[in-house]
Subunit: 384 residues, 2 copies
């Protein structure tokens, strides 16, 4: 086995945002040397890695030259040049998750087709190569309102996704390839993170429950474990494992799902990386998702995925009406509450709904944690 | 209140070793800007802070000039120039713990006198200004063998402390001011960490039990909570709180104690900083000691000190007979064990008994955690 610890071994991370930053805590904990590529000079990762390179993640040469300096390459964002990853693999570099996994996920149309061809339960959908084709589909009645519209590429943090209820809204959509999905009435949005290493070891985290902000289409609370029947949780875990098995990914795979009104489980989307729905694990799980991702991509034994206590995660997003140098108002008030840990991502500028940080609340009693989470949400303000 | 988060506020840390490194995880989590001073270009902190300065921690001008660049100054090692800290305080800088606290602790003779004058229970002792005075004291019968010899300054990690059983050993001691302490037969060595902020808020961690390596006089296991009677634990906590009250420190104060055969509690030593006996808290406590130290010195509300689960910490020290580039043998074996998290400090060179890292084992069942800890200890080898 390679000696990763306090050695010359170098991990390359594509993307320098908060997910990369939290992954870097774990590389420091294990004393693994890291290099990070990100387009922003202000990227949260810039001071937590051994070497920071500023560059375009979608540029073939930039990614290729960066990757050649690393022994193992991973990414914290799907928007990276996949051809460069393929070339790196051809040159013998270890890229985890692989270019193939990323190609099957990066484009939401391809992702949906992958679900279908692997009999993974998902909402019915139609791919439309253009806005024109989408509008024609509506006119011909091949697709019908209301529906969920998703841009096949470029979506992130609620961008590129919209619930379309009428023709006016449909006509206002941007020009892009898209998918039109059935709008599923659901009881809960759930997520399960599955870790897999190159040796084939698989570990599954408990099912979490996500509560979305109604306007921003961003997760507001993540609750672990989900407050659902054990049989539904078991079903959700099995579906997530099936998805993981289909992808044969290395590293983490976050599987977002709907629990329908009939307690069916439908897969919404997957992400091949540490995920917002797993942030609670930093404080609550025996092995947090970032350490687990690291274990997985280095082919180390995977850690225990169960929780030490109940966990609720609150996203801290920029308040509407504020853009500029960030101020975390009342942060000392929330520090008075029991079991509260804030995480500040290190972005200097706040904007409406920008993910600026998160707060985890851990408590032996989950309903108590949920109450404190609401108190946190009401108290702290991310303004400028 | 000052806005510490994602702002221009700067925390200065004197010392760049593993304690500083683990403190820096927390400053990154809160996005607090940091500068670090350490004599070694290879200090573990060098890449985790915003600005690293290489320099002598005992040099007046170096510490003064460094401190002037920070808004709040703290230290992770007691061996720093205390006159420079006093000068910084006189210039209006916040130094936590204060120069006064450090002066009362840095010199072990002063520390013992402080215990005596504040009626803090401690082993009987005699201060000797020189080796000559120490040997004369023995000859005159003012002190008697066996005894515990401690150098008043420069002791760290078991250096500067020795159990002296005969005159030959006494004569082999180095030339230095020292104290001669009664050798107390004890059942257990215990420790309690107390946090205190400038507003006077105080929080006390549970009592931990320390098992020492017989040869190196270094802690081998730390067990939380200590497996002792509740009444003894309560007494130990009360003694620690009395010590904390006496010092009026800001930040953490680690209080090491003996539980005598008669269940008396005697204070052995104190350290005004995060402490090896609190490392278990990273995984096991609701608020880890490093986050707590940060909360304390920034006058933020203190966090919950209780544990989410039982925790055992194993120190990883360099194996005897190996000096050179470190290799952590069998680390992947220990990662297979339940609830195991290794921390690698980032020192490239191993030496016999050098503290290279630690491993935490967390388990709902403490005796299970203790068993796994032994397995860890038997399996991993820090060699070159």
């Amino acid at each position: 086995m390679t000696n990763f610890f306090s050695s010359d071994f170098t991990l390359g991370i594509l993307g320098g945002g908060q997910l990369g930053k939290m992954l870097l805590y774990e590389t420091r904990k294990f004393d693994i040397q890291t290099i990070v590529l990100d387009p922003s000079a202000e990227a949260p990762c810039r001071i937590a890695c051994n070497e920071f390179t500023r560059g375009d993640l979608m540029d073939y040469d930039t990614v290729l030259n960066f990757g050649r300096k690393a022994d193992v390459i991973t990414f914290e964002i799907e928007g990276v040049n996949v051809d460069a990853l393929e070339k790196l693999e051809a040159e013998g570099k270890k890229v985890y998750p692989s270019s193939q996994t990323l190609k099957r996920i990066q484009d939401k149309g391809v992702q949906k087709d992958f679900f279908s061809s692997h009999e993974i339960p998902t909402a019915a959908y139609k791919k439309c190569p253009s806005k024109k084709a989408f509008l024609e589909g509506l006119q011909k009645g091949e697709i019908s309102l209301p529906l969920v519209w998703k841009s096949t590429t470029g979506g992130y943090d609620g961008k590129g996704v919209a619930i379309i209820k009428n023709m006016d809204a449909a006509e206002d959509l941007p020009e892009t390839e898209c998918i039109a999905e059935d709008l599923i009435p659901f009881k809960n949005e759930l997520a399960v993170i599955v870790a897999r290493n190159p040796s084939g070891e698989v570990k599954t985290y408990p099912v979490v429950e996500m509560e979305f902000h109604p306007e921003a289409n961003q997760v507001e609370y993540v609750i672990c474990p989900a407050r659902i029947d054990a049989s539904v949780a078991e079903k959700a875990r099995k579906v997530a494992e099936k998805v993981s098995e289909a992808y044969q990914h290395v590293g983490l795979l976050a599987v977002e799902m709907f629990q329908t009104e009939e307690d069916e489980i439908l897969v919404n989307e997957v992400a091949p990386r540490p995920h917002n729905s797993g942030h609670y694990s930093i404080e609550a799980a025996f092995t947090n998702q970032f350490e687990q991702h690291l274990r997985a991509i280095l082919d180390l034994p995977l850690g225990e995925t169960e929780s030490k206590a109940g966990g609720v995660m609150v996203n801290l997003v920029g308040e509407e009406g504020y853009t500029g140098n960030v101020v975390y108002e009342n942060i000392s008030e929330i520090l008075k509450l029991k079991g509260v840990t804030p995480h500040i991502y290190g972005k200097k500028i706040t904007r409406p709904f920008r993910k600026m940080g998160h707060v985890t609340i851990v408590n032996a009693d989950l309903s108590e944690a949920r109450k404190i989470a609401e108190e946190v949400k009401k108290t702290i303000r991310v303004i400028s």
